[in-house]
């Protein structure tokens, strides 16, 4: 088990390293001057030279890369040019927001998705299934930012607090996610329901509810764990559009703004966070698999 964990961690670190390197390359191959200021004011040559030196842009790219990696190893993510503050501080501000959003959306996504999927599977090919299936398909087929238009148009009157501002983006993300999850869950349920052990459970004289929710669902949740592992990092970093539209100050928006503003240190840091999240998501999914699926649990120990 320990050896397995060590290997997994090593592989994960390798992936993160590769992503960071790739991002670093993309960013630095396209690098412009740091002397442009957000307000577009002329910067005196002295300051420009100072900035160039401070960011080490006069050195060859390999030197810059080693310096960056070195700093990274010491937990130093660099200094944001556009925000004029440490990258770590900007991330520290954005990450909790994103976590709040992602967690809410995730809960909504999976709670609703699983419930709908199970319901649909239980009523396969009947009205409820087909109607919900089409609604889910529709929601799933909408560009996320398009879904957003509805609340944008019909101005909601409300108190301006955190919880409320969380509601709309979380609802949007959660709903779109739930629509996908439901389709997934339905398919998984139908796959499981056809299996022999479900028949065994019925033959024991169990209630249909117990058959579905205990015997079938436990198995149908397994493939969903993979989905969870994929969704989790996506919500953290991929919710770019929703965060942008709702002006939600999270990672996604931070990353997009940084990209648009050519704020390289933030871009690289965001890529780092993103890849860490993906890797974590995979690890989490694997761990969950172990918990949920005895076939894997036993093998791993």
């Amino acid at each position: 088990m320990a050896a397995w964990l060590v290997r997994r961690l090593a592989a994960s670190i390798a992936i993160v390293w590769a992503v960071v390197t790739l991002t670093f390359l993309i960013v630095h191959l396209a690098h412009g001057s740091p002397c442009g200021q957000p307000d577009g004011l002329p910067v005196s040559p002295a300051i420009c030279a100072d900035l160039t030196r401070r960011f080490g842009l006069d050195k060859p790219i390999s030197t810059q890369y080693y310096k960056y990696l070195g700093a990274l190893l010491h937990g130093d993510l660099g200094w944001s040019i556009a925000l004029q503050r440490p990258v770590a501080a900007a991330l520290a501000e954005a990450l909790p927001n994103t976590f709040a959003l992602a967690l809410t959306a995730l809960i909504l996504d999976f709670a609703l998705g699983v419930a709908l999927g199970v319901y649909q599977a239980a009523r396969e090919r009947r009205f409820g299934d087909i109607a919900l299936g089409n609604v889910a398909l529709f929601v799933n087929s909408m560009p996320t930012f398009w879904l957003v238009l509805c609340p944008q148009v019909h101005a909601f009157s409300c108190v301006a607090d955190f919880a409320w501002h969380l509601t709309l983006p979380a609802l949007t993300l959660g709903l779109v996610g739930a629509a996908g999850t439901a389709r997934y869950q339905r398919a998984a349920m139908l796959e499981v329901v056809r299996q022999d052990f479900v028949r065994t459970a019925r033959a024991k004289g169990l209630r249909e509810r117990r058959v579905l929710l205990r015997h079938a669902l436990r198995n149908a949740l397994l493939p969903l764990i993979t989905l969870f592992g994929l969704t989790f990092p996506f919500l953290l970093t991929g919710a770019v559009l929703v965060e942008t539209v709702f002006a939600w100050p999270g990672m996604g928006r931070l990353a997009v703004t940084a990209i648009l503003q050519r704020d390289y240190p933030i871009v690289t840091a965001a890529a780092l966070v993103a890849s860490v999240m993906v890797v974590l998501g995979n690890l989490l999914a694997d761990a969950l698999y172990g918990v949920a699926d005895p076939r894997i649990r036993v093998r791993a120990t």
Partner: protein, 345 residues
């Protein structure tokens, strides 16, 4: 004769296939009795409706696409299972009538311990506490001969071999001491040596617990060794039904005859050992289009016009009491046609 424990009359289970190829008449008018304490063998080739028959008894047919036709009748302990409310039906399932399936690999839920799965029926039907259920599960495992049951109870199915899993299935079925055990090809997926173990176990348990067993199989050898009576099915119907020794000594339906002749036999005299086998020509037709008349007539060496046109009823072969040996074949009315052709040595 005593009252049968389970009486199946004119059971018809059809499947509506969705894409226009019609209705599959998987089970089409099956009748038989199962008496307390006996072992009834149900044999026939793949697709002849054995599984559907057994599932129909517990109303486990997936609906849709399947449905049991009105007019069918399955009586258990004086009650028609087909008209029972779901709640009452559940009280019988797993409690009075239990079932084990062909595939021990897939018939167990991979995410629960075998102990839990064994005990679940007892928890539901007898309201056992968790502790008591666990003790019961251990007892059952001991009963079916799992070494070290106290440990085995916490194992997951994938940690067990095929033979052990089938034992677990049996333990699971027997946990409430049912009156009837339906075993749908319980040994088909297993090796011969393991098959022998399982058959032996079933025999022992029947002697100990005294339940009736409906043993479904396609292997005539298994039936010969284990069953008291045999029902032979073909194309959704019972074609012959007799006590085991009678059937093997005097197979009357040409299909039964053919089946027996198809089997390569270990006890064949060396002279016959490498000769040709006498298979049945042709193949089982699809359930959605059984031939008219006698369903076996296209493959039957004796068939004549009547077989094509008229569906034979189950006729009494007249051995012992009426109903002891019945056959669905016109040959019974015109026995001379059999000798006239004499297709078999």
């Amino acid at each position: 004769m005593t009252e049968p424990l389970l009486r199946v009359r004119d059971l018809k289970t059809y499947f509506v296939t969705e894409h226009g190829s019609g209705t599959a008449r998987a089970v089409d008018g099956v009748s038989f009795d199962l008496h307390a304490g006996e072992t009834l063998g149900l044999v026939g080739e793949s697709g002849c409706g054995k599984t559907v028959t057994s599932l129909s008894v517990l109303r486990l047919i997936p609906e849709p696409p399947g449905h049991i036709r009105p007019g069918s009748f399955i009586e258990f302990a004086g009650r028609n299972l087909l008209t029972l409310a779901p709640r009452e039906l559940r009280a019988i399932r797993g409690n009075q009538i239990a079932m084990i399936f062909q595939e021990p690999m897939t018939s167990l839920n991979p995410v629960f311990t075998v102990g839990y799965q064994i005990a679940e029926a007892a928890i539901v039907h007898q309201r056992l506490s968790r502790r008591a259920a666990r003790t019961r599960a251990i007892e059952m495992l001991k009963l079916v001969g799992i070494p070290d049951p106290a440990q085995g109870v916490d194992h997951y199915p994938h940690q067990m071999s095929g033979g052990m899993r089938q034992r677990v299935m049996i333990a699971m079925a027997l946990v409430c001491h049912p009156k009837v055990l339906i075993a749908d090809e319980p040994t088909t997926a297993l090796d011969v040596t393991i098959q022998a173990q399982i058959l032996e176990l079933l025999e022992r348990l029947q002697a100990e617990l005294g339940m009736a067993i409906m043993l479904i199989t396609h292997d005539l050898g298994v039936v010969a060794g284990s069953a008291d009576r045999v029902v032979v099915m073909y194309a959704g119907q019972v074609v012959e039904q007799a006590p085991t020794p009678e059937l093997f000594a005097r197979p009357l339906h040409p299909y039964t005859e053919g089946l027996l002749a198809s089997v390569p036999r270990l006890d064949a005299p060396p002279a016959r050992a490498r000769g040709r086998l006498h298979g049945i020509p042709g193949q089982v037709p699809a359930a959605s289009d059984w031939p008219g008349g006698c369903r076996f007539h296209p493959r039957c060496p004796y068939a004549w016009d009547r077989c094509r046109d008229e569906e034979p009823p189950l006729l009494d072969a007249g051995a012992g009491e009426p109903g002891t040996h019945t056959v669905r074949c016109w040959l019974l009315t015109e026995p001379q046609r059999r000798t006239a052709r004499a297709p078999l040595p």
